[in-house]
């Protein structure tokens, strides 16, 4: 999942726009945006982040500029614990792979490692669900409740139901959920429904997607589509 590989994969699959949403950080968004700009037919790249709230709910934030995404990322980072090395079990075989820590690499646009993340990105941030949505909105972003059809790390999974006083801009259905027709369960919230691949591996990219009816694949157009403004809109397959 290097920046050049990500944008090449999107380009080959004919994906017009991707959002880069690492867990609790926007540390690699600039590199992916640069990589996309450097190839012909590179996708539009929305700088984003997938924030883990205090309640361990995943919320996606999409932003107009990498500076906005990074400002949010900095606020999240201030409350994250330091990276904790994998515990090695006594008596477990000490093979090289067992001892190797999973690395959270920072990369440049060519895919060269420029640093290692020193915080525990998999931990919960110090922002509650409401505070997280507010944080995203304060930086002009779009907030999306992630994979609401899944049991793990979703608003319904953690909190039993979707509270009506949290001003999400959209709800995201997982690719598997969309394929099983689960979007219908979430129509009553009156929010736009999105789907995406949530890909953690290149080959999964494009397994879930949203069709945006917009003149160009850009943040402002997507914002209009989610607000059903100026004739823009979106549908999921």
């Amino acid at each position: 999942m290097t920046p050049p590989a990500i944008v090449r994969e999107a380009s080959e699959k004919g994906i017009a726009v991707i959002a880069v949403c690492d867990h609790n950080t926007a540390g690699n968004v600039r590199a992916v945006m640069e990589a996309a700009a450097s190839i012909p037919d590179g996708p539009a790249v929305i700088p984003g982040i997938e924030i883990t709230t205090v309640e361990e709910v995943h919320v996606l934030g999409w932003f107009r500029s990498p500076a906005d995404a990074c400002a949010v990322s900095d606020e999240i980072a201030a409350g994250l614990p330091p990276w904790r090395p994998l515990a090695v079990r006594t008596g477990a075989p000490t093979t090289a792979s067992a001892l190797r820590e999973p690395e959270q690499q920072l990369m440049d646009a060519d895919g060269n490692e420029t640093g290692i993340e020193t915080l525990m990105l998999a931990a919960a941030s110090r922002f509650t669900l409401s505070e997280t949505v507010d944080l995203i909105h304060r930086h002009g972003g779009i907030s999306v409740a992630a994979h609401v059809d899944r049991r793990s790390f979703s608003v319904p999974g953690q909190l039993g139901f979707i509270p009506h006083d949290v001003p999400f801009d959209a709800l995201e259905i997982s690719a598997a959920g969309a394929a099983r027709g689960r979007a219908a369960e979430f129509l009553s919230h009156g929010l736009p429904l999105l789907s995406s691949s949530d890909c953690h591996f290149l080959e999964d990219m494009g397994t879930g997607f949203t069709l945006f009816d917009v003149p160009e694949p850009a943040f402002d157009e997507i914002a209009k589509a989610l607000g059903n403004r100026e004739g823009r809109g979106c549908t999921i397959a």
Binding site: T128, Q158, L159, G160
Partner: protein, 119 residues
């Protein structure tokens, strides 16, 4: 055992002094969980919930599940709005500094049981 007896045996702090913890039905069951979808599905009606989940939704979920009260463990405290909602709905809220694990052990020793276990 009434909720009031549990409060005094375990030295729980009562976060909703506006509500009486005495006089309700006996509490014989408990559930420990921080996932409210699990509480909705599995918490035994009439039981008490041990949780570190302090989101407002805990009140609606506890009422839906017919719980007798909620104990916030490990020093967790809900916001005042959550507390006021509980008072309004008549749901006693309690607090403890111990972890859910330790508190569940003490409640088990007092005779409370989890879902599906014989009393």
């Amino acid at each position: 055992m009434t909720l009031g007896q549990i409060v005094s045996f375990l030295g729980l702090e009562v976060l909703t002094p506006e509500l009486s913890v005495n006089g309700g039905a006996d509490v014989t069951r408990g559930h420990a969980s921080d996932l409210l979808s699990d509480v909705l599905a599995n918490a035994p009606s009439g039981g008490i919930l041990l949780t570190i989940q302090v989101h407002m939704n805990v009140i609606a979920v506890a009422l839906h599940a017919g719980l007798a009260g909620v104990v916030f463990t490990q020093g967790m405290r809900p916001e005042e709005m959550v507390r006021l909602k509980a008072v309004q709905e008549g749901l006693p809220l309690l607090a403890a500094s111990e972890s859910s694990f330790d508190l569940a052990g003490r409640l088990y020793a007092l005779g409370l049981r989890g879902r599906g276990q014989p009393e």
